[in-house]
Symmetry: C2
Subunit: 365 residues, 2 copies
C-alpha cells in the first residue's frame, strides 16, 4: 500500500515545516516501517519537507529485492552504514538539507558524534518524537491490523477454552505454549510479548512468567497475551476461576470488572489521560483495594506493544479520536491471587470501539 505511506510522509513533511527543519533523518526502524512499509533490520530514511522527490531511502545489499517490493516509490541507496550514507548525501547538498533534524531520543551519543562529522556543514538539529507524534493517532490501515491482531487473540482463547485446554493439572508453560500456537493458526505473526499464564498465587504477580506450576480447581488463572499482524500488537488480559469461585474471588473480580467498565467509559476524545486512570482507580479505591492496584491503567498500543499515550496518574495530555489504548485495572492479593481485566480499544467520537471481544465471565472454563 504505497499510498498510505506516501500520505504519512506528507503529514510528516507538514510537521517538519512547523518545526523549522528542511528534512528529518529517520533511523528508528519502526518509524521507517511506518513511513515506508520496509520491514528489514537495517535502514535509514532522509525525508525532505519538500516531498518524495528529495527523499532518499537506504538499506543494505541483503534487502535489495525486498526493498524493491516494499519501497517502490522512493529513491534508494544501498549501503551497510545506512545513516552515515544518508548523512554524506545531505552534506553534499547543503542548500537542500541545510537544517536537518534527527531522532535524538533514539540516536546514541556515539552515533551522534559520527553523524555530526558526516553532516559536515549541514546543521543537525535535535527533533525528538516527531514520527511518534503522528503514530499516536492510528489511520484505517493501522486499525485494521490492530483489529486482525485482536481477533487472532480472541479466536485463540476461544479455541483453547473450547478444546478444554484450561484444566486442572496442566502447567502454566504448557497452556501458554498452546495459546501461542493457536494464535499462529489464526494469523498471528508471533506473540506480541511473552505470554503470561499465572495460576493460583502466581496470579497475584502482575507480570509473572509461566512456570511448571499446575492449574488447580478453585484457583484463579490469569492470561495476559497478544498477537501481531503486520507489525501491530494486540494486548488482552482475562482472569478465570477453575470451578466454583470463593467469595473473595467474586469480590475482587467484581471490583476490577466495574473499574474496567468505568475506565472504558471515560475513554473519549478530549479526556485527560490522568482522569481516565482516576475514573477506574476510584472504583478500586472505594472498595478498599487502593494499595493492591500497583500499576497504571493502560497504555497506547500499535507498532509497539507499549507506546504513547500512558493512561496513568502521572500521565500528561488528552485523548484524541483514533488513538488505540488498553484499559487494564488489576487487584493483586499477595500469596492468594489476583485479577486483571484488559481490553484494547480505539478512541472514537461516538465512544470507544472495543477490539478485544473475549468473554469476561469469571467462570468461563
Amino acid at each position: 500500500m504505497p499510498e498510505i505511506h506516501a500520505h504519512r510522509r506528507g503529514a510528516l513533511a507538514t510537521l517538519l515545516h512547523e518545526n523549522g527543519v528542511d528534512a528529518l533523518l529517520v533511523t528508528d526502524l519502526l518509524n521507517i516501517r511506518y513511513l515506508t512499509g520496509f520491514t528489514g533490520s537495517n535502514a535509514a530514511l532522509l525525508l525532505h519537507s519538500g516531498g518524495d522527490a528529495k527523499t532518499v531511502f537506504c538499506t543494505d545489499g541483503r534487502y535489495t529485492t525486498q526493498s524493491e517490493s516494499e519501497v517502490p516509490d522512493l529513491e534508494r541507496v544501498l549501503d551497510r552504514a545506512s545513516a552515515r550514507a544518508l548523512a554524506s548525501r545531505a552534506a553534499g547538498e547543503p542548500a537542500t538539507y541545510g537544517r536537518t533534524g534527527f531522532e535524538s531520543q533514539h540516536v546514541s551519543v556515539e552515533d551522534h558524534e559520527t553523524l555530526k562529522v558526516r553532516f559536515d556543514k549541514v546543521h543537525l538539529i535535535r527533533t525528538p518524537g516527531l514520527v511518534e507524534q503522528l503514530r499516536l493517532v492510528k489511520d484505517d490501515v493501522e486499525v485494521a491490523a490492530l483489529r486482525a491482531a485482536c481477533a487472532a487473540a480472541d479466536r485463540a482463547l476461544a479455541d483453547l477454552l473450547e478444546a478444554g485446554g484450561v484444566r486442572p493439572g496442566r502447567a502454566e508453560l504448557e497452556v501458554a505454549r498452546d495459546l501461542e500456537n493457536r494464535m499462529l493458526e489464526h494469523g498471528s505473526g508471533g506473540p506480541a510479548f511473552a505470554t503470561i499464564v499465572a495460576a493460583g498465587p502466581n496470579s497475584a504477580i502482575p507480570h509473572h512468567q509461566p512456570t511448571g506450576a499446575e492449574l488447580r480447581t478453585g484457583d484463579f488463572v490469569k492470561f495476559d497475551f497478544g498477537a501481531t499482524v503486520d507489525g501491530y500488537h494486540s494486548d488482552m488480559t482475562r482472569t478465570f476461576v477453575l470451578g466454583a469461585p470463593a467469595d473473595w474471588q467474586w469480590e475482587i473480580y467484581d471490583v476490577v470488572y466495574r473499574a474496567q467498565e468505568a475506565g472504558i467509559e471515560a475513554v473519549l476524545p478530549g479526556a485527560e489521560v490522568s482522569e481516565v486512570d482516576a475514573e477506574a482507580r476510584s472504583v478500586i479505591d472505594d472498595a478498599g483495594y487502593a494499595e493492591q492496584f500497583t500499576h497504571g491503567l493502560g497504555h497506547g498500543v500499535g507498532l509497539e506493544v507499549h507506546e504513547a499515550p500512558s493512561l496513568a496518574a502521572t500521565g500528561v495530555g488528552t485523548l484524541s479520536a483514533g488513538m488505540a489504548v488498553t484499559v487494564e485495572p488489576g487487584v493483586y492479593l499477595a500469596g492468594r491471587g489476583g485479577v486483571r481485566i484488559e481490553d484494547t480499544l480505539v478512541v472514537r467520537d461516538s465512544g470507544p470501539e472495543l477490539l478485544t471481544l473475549s468473554t469476561k465471565d469469571l467462570v468461563a472454563v
Copy 2:
C-alpha cells in the same frame, strides 16, 4: 551465582581504573544482567571502581522481590527512573563519583541531556563498550549456558528428523513451529531469533522468513535456528535435500562444507578475524562461487545472538581463547537454491570446541 557476578564486577573495576574514571553508569540491560544477574526490564547500575561497597543498583517497585533474590549482594534503590535516580545519587557524592563514565553507544542524545543536568558537578565521560570488552571472552558459566542452548537446538533437530517432521508437503511455517516447540521441550527459554526454514528456491534467500511454501522432494531445505538458555543464544544452520540430491546440489554443498571446515580450522587464539573469513572464503572463491557468498563468515554469540567479534573481511582484531563465535559460509544460487552450514564454537588454545553437534549429512532426511 553471586560469586561470578562479583568476579565480573571486579574485572570491570580494573578496566575503570585503566580508563581513568571513578565509576561507570551502566544502563544497557544486557550489561546489567552480565554484571548482576538481574533479568527484569528496568534497571541501572552505578558501579564504582573501588568495589561493591560503593556500587548501587536501581530498579523499580515491580521488581522488589525479584531483585532481592537476583541481586542480593548490592545496595539497592527503587525508582522508576533508574538511571536518573543513580545520577542524583552520584551528584550528591562528587568526591566519590567525580569522574563517571557512561555507555555512550547506548545512551540516546536526549537521555544524555537529562543525565548531564542530574549529574550536576560530576564529570560525565563517554566510555563506550567497556562491558562489551569483557563480554568478548566467555567465562565458564557463560560457556555452560551456551553449551546447554546448543544442546537444546541439537536435540530438537534430531527429534524433528526422527519424527519424520521434515517431509514433502509440509509448509515451511509448520516445520519452523514444530522445531521451536521441540526446543522448548529441551529447555530453551524461547527461540534465539525468528527460526528460518527455507525450502527450494527460498533457500537461496539468506534470511528467508518461513511461509506457507511446501517442502518438496529433490529440493534443498535450509534450517537456521537457535535456542536460549539463561539468556545465552545458540546459532546453527543445516541444509538437507529431501530425497536424492542432483549433481549441482552435491557440488555447492561440497564447496560450502569444505569452506566451513577451513574456517573452523582457522579459529585459533591470535588469528586475525579477517584472516579466518579469508580462509573459508578462498575455498568458495576457488570453486567459482565468490559472488554467491554475499555475507560475512560469522559473528560472536552470547547474551546477544549477534555480538562482537565480527568474522568478516572488514573485521578488525584477533581471536582470544574463550570467545564464542559462529562459522557460517554459504552459497546462494538465485531462483534455484542455496546452502549454508553454521556452527557455534568456542575458541580454545587446543583448537576450537564445537558446541553444535548436529549431523552435516546432506541426505539426513
